[in-house]
Symmetry: C2
Subunit: 154 residues, 2 copies
Amino acid sequence: MGLEEDIKQRKFKSQYQKAGVNLAFTYSFMVNRNMRMLKKFGLTLPQFNILRILRGQHPKFTTVNDLIDRMLDKSSNASRIVEKLRAKKLVERRVSELDRRAVDISITQSGLNLLALIDKVEHEFYFGIDSLTEEEASLLNELLDKGRNMNETE
Amino acid sequence: MGLEEDIKQRKFKSQYQKAGVNLAFTYSFMVNRNMRMLKKFGLTLPQFNILRILRGQHPKFTTVNDLIDRMLDKSSNASRIVEKLRAKKLVERRVSELDRRAVDISITQSGLNLLALIDKVEHEFYFGIDSLTEEEASLLNELLDKGRNMNETE
DNA sequence: CACAAAAGAATGTACATACATATAATGTTA
DNA sequence: TAACATTATATGTATGTACATTCTTTTGTG
């Protein structure tokens, strides 16, 4: 089904305008799906994203600053999300010995176990896996990359 | 620049996995841009979206339920956003005479004037306007539509 | 008609984000 | 080294979302 029917509205002024709306709609579609899935594991999407970054670094420590660097949305609120994870004993925090301003964070065995469970349904995070060919998905990626490009120099 | 460099990380397991991440990253990129722009006009993105729906119906009234139907994200919190807009005198509310449960909402002249201002920079909401050809944008739209499709029957 | 079920909207709670500011530790430099 | 700037993180405030619940009004069925 096309976007116009999905959002029961209007003709678009251009393919570019439609692409903006389509991106938002499709993202929302995907995120709702992911949220429902993660909820079964007691995680929110940002909590899951941070856990995965920590696993990627494991067994090295990761500072809050590193987390912010690697997060997709560059939110500056990694502290609060880490605190939620710590409350669930999925991560541990300690003040860095090298720089006492910094906080070293690491995923716990419990956190690793939880991620291992979620790995089994990881394909649910993918986009288009049961409706696009691999070539189409690749083309989509190229178009998204290209579409961002000149926009960046605002 | 490709996604891997943008998020300084990993090889993806498939184009589908990459598409999921790319969608989130690209959406975040676009939304940040839109938010910065709207902020100059004293609006948030959801407030702007609701105002535009109201303008589309003007001079008819729109109920809160209608708003929820038409919002991209189907949030059930239209009430609170409407209240913010009412506080800025951009919309008016009145209990419907036909159905006293319903609340009729309409955009004010002040709201229309504000949207008219924003119309002048509307192209900033588009995606890819200065890096994709119209054909590429159209193809992107097709791929997004197609990618959502089978996923819907969860 | 009476009364239960449904519908429209609002509200409470937990979580998240953006942005500004605060706090503490570290770096820099006159 | 003392003063100031910078860095790493945390916190406060306004906004928004998801979800559950509540309140009122309307609808539907005996």
